[in-house]
């Protein structure tokens, strides 16, 4: 049995293409039941990549057609190039992953010159995830990206440490979250998605604060603050002590937060956190997410995006639902 036969066609391989599989993939691509829109952006499907788990799209474009995605959300960009954190960066945990990448990225101009040309050609909207240490850095990123062709929206990552406030993440207080939102709003006409940190008491309150400042969409959740200790060296495994927990382990918490936020605001929500199957994706949509993003699951199963695409298509068909948008928040009704 050839290893491609049960899965998806791999691009660029000599003998890799198998007509019927390929056409299966094509059908999935053009499934109108899955097309939707978000802040005015037309999406081929409600499936996005989660920032930092998909690079800038090149690697996965070798595995399947990126237009299966509603949008590519790229690795977080900072104003200046960053080398990222030294020492160990990954720790596997039960059904989860702690990462401490430290926003390694080529910087704003590096991204634009090295990655945007490729991304513009993929026929899929590009959402740029931006991170800063000060509100001004976010502002500078927004201003420059506003004029960059091919950028469909900004995702503002407010889980970054605010260096002016002792390193507390912007996203953990309404005030700081609102401050970043306001300044970014003032510098861009692009749709602005604000990505929330889950390490808070009242996620709905933060979402409302951000909505009030003009965000067009909320995405959540970013990673849960977590750690691990090496019992032999008797030291934290990460140089920075803490890292971010992602993966299936956090799904039940992420789903709860998406539910809370979707019930508290009027702008759309992008749900993520541990989604690994179409059933997981469906739960987030039923909870009120207009779109969903796939993060850690891309590492476990590089074909998770086409598999979720196919699964959602089939579910739509079986349930006789014309378009996925009809199911957004359906679990909230008649309770």
């Amino acid at each position: 049995m050839d290893e491609h036969s049960t899965r998806y066609t791999v691009h660029g391989g000599e003998k890799a293409s198998e007509p019927q599989v390929k056409s299966g993939l094509r059908t999935a691509e053009s499934d109108s039941r899955l097309t939707t829109s978000l802040c005015g952006i037309k999406l081929n499907s409600p499936i996005l990549s989660a920032s930092g788990t998909y690079g800038y799209g090149k690697e996965f474009s070798r595995l399947y057609d990126l237009s299966l995605l509603g949008a590519v959300v790229v690795k977080g960009i900072t104003l200046n190039q960053r080398a990222g954190n030294p020492g160990r960066r990954l720790i596997e945990t039960p059904a989860g992953l702690i990462n401490s990448i430290g926003l390694e990225n080529p910087g704003l101009e590096g991204f634009i010159s090295q990655e945007m040309p490729f991304l513009r050609e993929q026929g899929v909207p590009v959402i740029v995830n931006i991170s800063g240490n000060t509100p001004e850095e976010y502002a500078a990123l927004a201003e420059r990206l506003d004029e960059e062709p091919g950028v469909s929206a900004l995702e503002v990552n407010i889980s970054c440490p605010n260096v002016k406030q002792g390193g507390m993440a912007f996203g953990v207080t309404c005030d700081m979250a609102a401050q970043v939102t306001t300044i970014v709003r003032s510098r861009t006409n692009l749709p602005m998605i604000v990505k929330l940190s889950p390490n808070v008491t009242d996620i709905a309150g933060i979402a409302q604060a951000v909505e009030a400042e003009g965000a067009d969409c909320i995405s959540l959740i970013n990673t849960l603050l977590a750690m691990a200790i090496d019992i032999h060296t008797r030291k934290p495994l990460l140089k920075n002590t803490f890292g971010g927990l992602s993966g299936p382990a956090i799904k039940p918490v992420a789903l709860r937060m998406v539910w809370q936020v979707a019930g508290a605001i009027k702008i759309p929500v992008i749900g993520m956190g541990g989604i690994s199957s179409w059933q997981d994706a469906m739960e987030f949509i039923l909870a009120g997410a207009s779109a969903i993003a796939i993060g850690t699951a891309n590492f476990v199963n590089p074909y998770v995006v086409p598999e979720i695409h196919a699964g959602l298509s089939k579910y739509m068909e079986e349930q006789g639902v014309k378009n996925i948008s009809e199911l957004v928040g359906a679990a909230r009704i008649n309770r």
Binding site: L90, F299, Y303
Partner: protein, 262 residues
């Protein structure tokens, strides 16, 4: 180098112990076998469940495009490899590859030396095969804690590789580390190119020795990985000449020694 990455539920065609704690797993994976280069690796799921969550990387230890099979040679060291060890012939396993950048196959000169520490011998069989077939003189220095931790010595010898070994407890070959063996050998013989694979401490020592001897050296690195594809940026190794990091899964696993700080 890699144009195609194959993923499959590959059928296990053989799975045997070759040493008390080391097994060889052969898989029917023609898409990988067709393309794999010496030094590349595969990323495998050791369980179909979410625990352990991540794939595990293993060097490709045999490549047979004709039969469409590949093998990995692995040591049971933790949860993933323990689960792997329980997989039966005929079962299927989720494997992704070939991944990463392999060895330099056309080094300058004619005489090469392979330096293996423990299970670090795994990627050398396909390399030796190619080198021998293209006319190189291949010597291999293999080190292990004791005789029981060796694998592949006969297999490499059968390819025509000149084998030397060292064990820390003296149970086979010279007593001592493979680094001692290397130093002694370099006193007596000249090589044009060296390749090493093993624990980081060993690689660091070899880098020094080869540096002093001005012997070009490639290292096959190991680092904890998540994606194996270059997207998570988790598998870093510090660069030697500039600030910043190499990514072992794409810039490596095989790198020139002078590129990395160990």
């Amino acid at each position: 180098m890699v144009n195609t990455i194959a993923i499959s539920q590959a059928r296990v065609t053989e799975h045997n112990f070759v040493a008390p704690n080391i097994k060889r797993l052969a898989l029917q994976a023609p898409g990988i076998a067709r393309q794999a280069q010496p030094g590349q690796f595969v990323n495998m799921r050791c369980s179909p469940t979410l625990d352990p969550l991540l794939r595990r990387p293993f060097s490709i230890n045999r490549i047979d495009p004709t039969s469409g099979t590949i093998s990995v040679l692995y040591k049971v060291v933790g949860r993933g490899t323990e689960l792997l060890a329980n997989i039966h012939r005929g079962d299927s396993i989720d494997v992704l590859g070939p991944l990463g950048t392999g060895f330099e196959l056309k080094p300058q000169g004619r005489k090469v030396v392979l330096i293996a520490g423990g299970i670090g011998v795994a990627p050398f069989h396909p390399l030796a095969e190619q080198l021998v077939n293209t006319g190189y003189d291949v010597t291999c220095l293999a080190g292990a804690r004791c005789d029981e931790e060796f694998a592949e010595l006969n297999d490499l010898a059968e390819l025509g590789v000149e084998m030397y070994c060292a064990t820390e407890d003296g149970s086979r070959g010279e007593q001592g580390r493979v680094t001692n063996l290397l130093e002694n050998t370099l006193h007596k013989r000249n090589f044009d190119m060296a390749y090493a694979c093993g624990p980081n401490a060993m690689l660091a020592a070899i880098k020094q020795i080869c540096g002093r001897a001005q012997l070009p050296l490639q290292l096959s690195l190991e680092e904890i990985m998540a994606c194996g594809l270059g997207v998570c940026l988790g598998c870093t190794c510090e660069k030697e000449k500039e600030n910043g990091f190499l990514h072992v899964c794409t810039d490596g696993p095989v790198v020139w020694a002078e590129e990395v700080k160990l």
